[in-house]
Amino acid sequence: MIARLLRLAGLALLLGCASQANAEPYLAAQMGLKCVQCHVNPTGGGMRTVFGNTFAQTQLAAKRIGAEEDIWTGQVMKFFSVGGNARADYTYVDIPHQEQTNEFEMEEARAYLDFGVIPNRLSVYLDQRFAPGNSTNMEANVRYWVKENAVYVKAGRMYLPFGYRFEDDSAFVREVSGINMQTPDEGAEIGFEHGNWSTQLAVTNGSGGAPEDDKGKQFTSRVEFVQSVWRAGASVLFNDADAGSRSGAGLFGAFRAGPVTLLGEVDYVDDDSIGVDGRKLMATLAEADWKVRQGHNLKLTFEWLEPNRDVDEDEQTRTSLLYEWSPIQFIQLRGGVRLYDGIPQNDNQNRTQAFVQLHGFF
């Protein structure tokens, strides 16, 4: 059985077919796959599929240790799968005119549970964060594939579909859209996975995870066309809130050239709920990932933020250079530097950060 799974995973890799890859969109683009290839959630992130776990052991890590037949698939029994992520950081921060700081921090520890009560059709999914702080539910939903691997509906608490689901929630594009992996919302989602296309539409409260406080709802949608060496997509959002409506759109895409994968995203949001006249915001992200060799990735990211289109000379940028090393399966050591550049009168917008992160996952 295990050998068969390995053969299937290897075949899928060779063919570069079907759905997506890993916790980082660049891995999906690198492999020419959709999110649903490696994650049980078709929009990416969270629990990994059998393929995703196998990929982590055979393709992502520089070296695999342990007995060859001991392949972790996440399936601890026929109808029940588990997964998890833990990130421990050491961070150094240098803010102009302030004393430098450094600290160790448990960024997060999460566990994923998937009860596949009807295999490949009906699942109850839980994403529970155990640290920091007490246990907090981040996702809890029921997912039913109306047509196997093609059409699904999902209802409950969930992360919303919009742009690329980056691991880094502090990315400008994630701050501007307000859609990230810290802010789930409650509602329903329908998705279509057909050939090269991946499409989702979600209707949620639009209250940022808080109880609904008005009659309006938020609509978010994402459509992506995935090819082996390139992909492109678009996102839209509209939140009809008493506080003021909020609408936005984004374009995203990726291109693979040998060992280098390029990703880009641009998002624009028009938010009438801010201030008297509303505010228009824009953010972009450009990322280059260079697979130096198996298990080693060099990441260069450049981000640009326009926090208010009606105000000149308030733009901010963030440049990051990271190295990611996966020495063995399910372990990743990440380190890098982030340079923030903003208006000179705001020290925080001009800080420098360096960090090392130990990331364990399964």
């Binding site: 702080g133 940022g208 995870g209 280059a288 450049f302 440049t319």
Partner: protein, 278 residues
């Protein structure tokens, strides 16, 4: 089809694209802007702890995410909304705690979140470190310990920011004082039994022993009851219309019905039950 494993080197020329983007887009020079990136306008400097909190914490840091429709936990911390969103408002993550419990920083969820001692979720700001410097945390604590006074009114109407007990709250038997906090300073000469009323579940008036504006807290009105409230349902009324209407020091009448214009009565209901504790 995936690239052969041997073709790892040599693709670095594609790193040129983000480098070009880096050269083409840069940060603003900040000319004509304040530290929060807003155009400099001629106006009074921050003259209260809350205004300083807004200017140095909420606006530049928190409202990067906590802004607009869909703000995390529904909590908007831009200048127009922050006070009403936090003072005497129950936390979503730990409903037993107020985000800001006036007079009690240790029991305020906001303090716990910025100090990293909250029982639920990550320390704020969520993209930290860096977290808030100790002097900023001390500022928040000091403001709450002083009763979390509202900023001076800058609007053309007076509104109720919060009350103690809060709307729909179940208070313990023995309650002898109600507190109403306004988003602006109240004309103390108008704070009386003419502008404030309390009725029980039978719609009978409950006698008030004293209606006063405490010293140093011009945005607060305290109602001292003639006797402790027995169990039952109660409705507080603050009058923004009628023979005598409450107003601020600039003569702006209370917008009690929250329709955006002056006028209308503010109504708030709460219960008193035996065995409840606060």
């Amino acid at each position: 089809m995936s690239e052969p494993a041997t073709n790892y080197m040599g693709g670095h020329r594609f790193l040129i694209l983000p480098v070009i983007l880096m050269l083409g887009a840069c940060a603003g020079n900040g000319e004509g802007l304040d530290a929060n990136g807003d155009p400099i306008t001629v106006g009074p400097p921050a003259n209260s702890d809350f205004e300083e909190i807004q200017a140095t914490i909420f606006t530049p840091i928190c409202s990067q995410c906590h802004i607009g429709a869909g703000a995390p936990q529904g909590m908007r911390l831009d200048a127009a909304n922050s006070y009403a969103m936090i003072v005497n408002v129950a936390s979503n993550e730990v409903p037993g705690l107020m985000r800001v419990n006036p007079g009690n920083p240790d029991a305020s969820y906001l303090v716990q979140k910025i100090e990293g001692t909250a029982a639920v979720g990550v320390r704020m700001p969520a993209n930290g470190p860096p977290y808030l410097p100790q002097d900023r945390i001390d500022l928040v604590r000091r403001w709450i310990a002083a009763g979390a006074p509202a900023p001076a009114a800058v609007t053309n109407k007076l509104t109720v920011a919060s009350t103690i007990p809060a709307p729909a709250e179940v208070a313990p038997v023995g309650l002898t004082r109600l507190t109403v906090i306004f988003a602006g300073d109240v004309d103390a000469t108008l704070a009386s039994a003419d502008t404030f009323g309390l009725r029980d579940g039978l719609d009978e008036p409950v006698p008030l022993a004293k209606v006063s504006v405490p010293l140093g807290r011009p945005n607060v009105v305290e109602l001292t009851l003639a006797r402790p409230l027995p169990p039952g349902s109660y409705q507080l009324e603050v009058r923004g219309e009628g023979p005598v209407a409450l107003a601020d020091n600039a003569g702006h009448v209370l917008d009690g019905d929250a329709d955006g214009s002056a006028g209308g009565n503010y109504l708030m209901s709460f219960d008193v039950r035996a065995g409840e504790s606060r």
